[in-house]
Symmetry: C2
Subunit: 211 residues, 2 copies
C-alpha cells in the first residue's frame, strides 16, 4: 500500500506534523482540518484527502486529537526513534547545521561531522569532534548511519556523494549547488537558496526594466 | 501568457539554468534535451515541454546553444540584473548565507544584514556591516529591496515577516521552522532541513524496528 502513495502527499506530512506540534505547544489538544488548513494555507479538503491514505484520524464534529495524530504521523514517517545523521563539511554552513537546535525531538540527531581541513580535524562543534574525512566510510558503516547532510563545495560534492553511497548512506540532503548522480534506492534532496530565490524572482517586477 | 505557466514549470527553470551554466563552465557550447535530462534525472520530453512555454530554443539535430538558452532563461526569470537581498538574522546561519559565494552571477547580491544583538550590530560579515534591526523598514525602503532572507529564531519569524512585508518586501526565503502568514502578492519559500530529512525518512527502513 505504502508504495502507491504519491511523493507529493508524503512531502506534505512533515508540514502537518510540524504545525500539529506547534498547536500542541500552544496548549491545544484538538484541531480540525479547517484550522490546520488556515494556518498552513492548504485547503482542508486536501489535508483530509492526504491523511485518508493512512486511515481515519479524525471525527466529524470533534476533529483530530493532536497528540494521537502526531504519534501516527511520526510512525508513518519513521520518526519514532532518532536517526543518526552524518554531516560532511565543517565550514560555516556545516557548523551552522551541526549546531542547529531544530533536529531534537523531530527524529534526527547529528551524530558525526567530517572535514578534510587539518586545522579543523580534532576541534569541536557543540559536543562533536570533527573527524578526518578519511574515516568517513568506516565510521558510517560502524555506526550504521543511513542519512547524511552534504555541506562541501560543489567541486567535491559528487565524489563525496559517491563515497557516502558506497558506505551505505540511503538518504542525502545536499547543500552543494549542483545536481548529483545518485543510484536507484538512494534518496536525494537539495537545498540551494539561489534556486529558491530564482523561482520567486520570476513573479517579481525586475529591479531595472528590461525594455 | 506568463500567468498561465504552471508554478512547477517555473520551479524547474532555475535547475535547467544551473546545469546549463555548469555545461558552459565545462567548455561546451551546445547541448540537447537528452544530455540535460540525463544530467538532471529529468526526461528530455519534460525539458522540451517546459521550454516550449517560452518559445523555440533548440533545433532538431543541433540542439540548444548553451549561451543563448542561458541568456533567455535569465531574462524569463528576471535575473539579468542583480537583485539586492536583505538578510535578517546574523546568527551562524545568517552569517553563512551572507558569506555564501553562490549568489554571485546568479542574479542576487546580499546587500544588507540585520540583527537585534548589540554585540553583533556594527561588526562586519564579509564587507557588510550588521545593522540594527530597528533600521529594517527605513533601510529596505530607501534601498528599494524586494527580497529578504529570514534567518531569525522561530519565535521571532512571524513578527519579522510582517515588518518585511510592510517595508515593501515581495519575496521571502525563510529558514525559520514555522509556516508564516503572508499576504497575497508576496511570495514565500521555506528551507527547513528537518522537513527535507523527514520527507526522505519515510522511504527508509527505520533505525530500530517498530514491531
Amino acid at each position: 500500500m505504502a508504495n502507491s502513495i504519491p511523493d507529493i502527499v508524503i512531502g506534505r506530512l512533515p508540514i502537518y506534523l510540524r504545525e500539529l506540534t506547534r498547536l500542541a505547544e500552544e496548549g491545544k489538544t484538538t484541531t480540525s482540518s479547517q484550522e490546520l488548513g488556515r494556518r498552513l494555507g492548504i485547503s482542508s479538503a486536501q489535508i483530509r484527502k492526504d491523511l485518508s491514505h493512512f486511515g481515519e484520524f479524525g471525527k466529524q464534529g470533534t476533529g483530530y486529537h493532536i497528540n494521537y495524530l502526531v504519534d501516527q504521523l511520526r510512525q508513518i514517517l519513521h520518526l519514532t526513534d532518532e536517526w543518526p545523521v552524518a554531516v560532511v563539511g565543517a565550514g560555516l554552513l556545516g557548523q551552522a547545521i551541526a549546531r542547529y537546535q531544530g533536529f531534537a525531538h523531530r527524529g534526527f540527531r547529528i551524530a558525526r561531522i567530517f572535514d578534510n581541513d587539518p586545522q579543523k580535524i580534532g576541534t569541536k562543534v557543540n559536543n562533536l569532534t570533527i573527524q578526518d574525512i578519511s574515516e568517513l566510510e568506516e565510521t558510517i558503516q560502524n555506526a550504521d548511519i543511513k542519512i547524511a547532510i552534504l555541506a562541501v563545495p560543489a567541486n567535491h560534492a559528487q565524489e563525496t556523494a559517491d563515497r557516502l553511497v558506497k558506505a551505505g548512506i540511503k538518504a542525502i540532503l545536499s547543500y552543494a549547488p549542483i545536481s548529483l548522480k545518485i543510484p536507484e534506492g538512494v534518496k536525494i534532496s537539495y537545498s540551494d537558496p539561489v534556486i529558491q530565490l530564482q523561482q520567486m524572482a520570476y513573479y517579481l517586477i525586475p529591479p531595472i526594466s528590461q525594455d
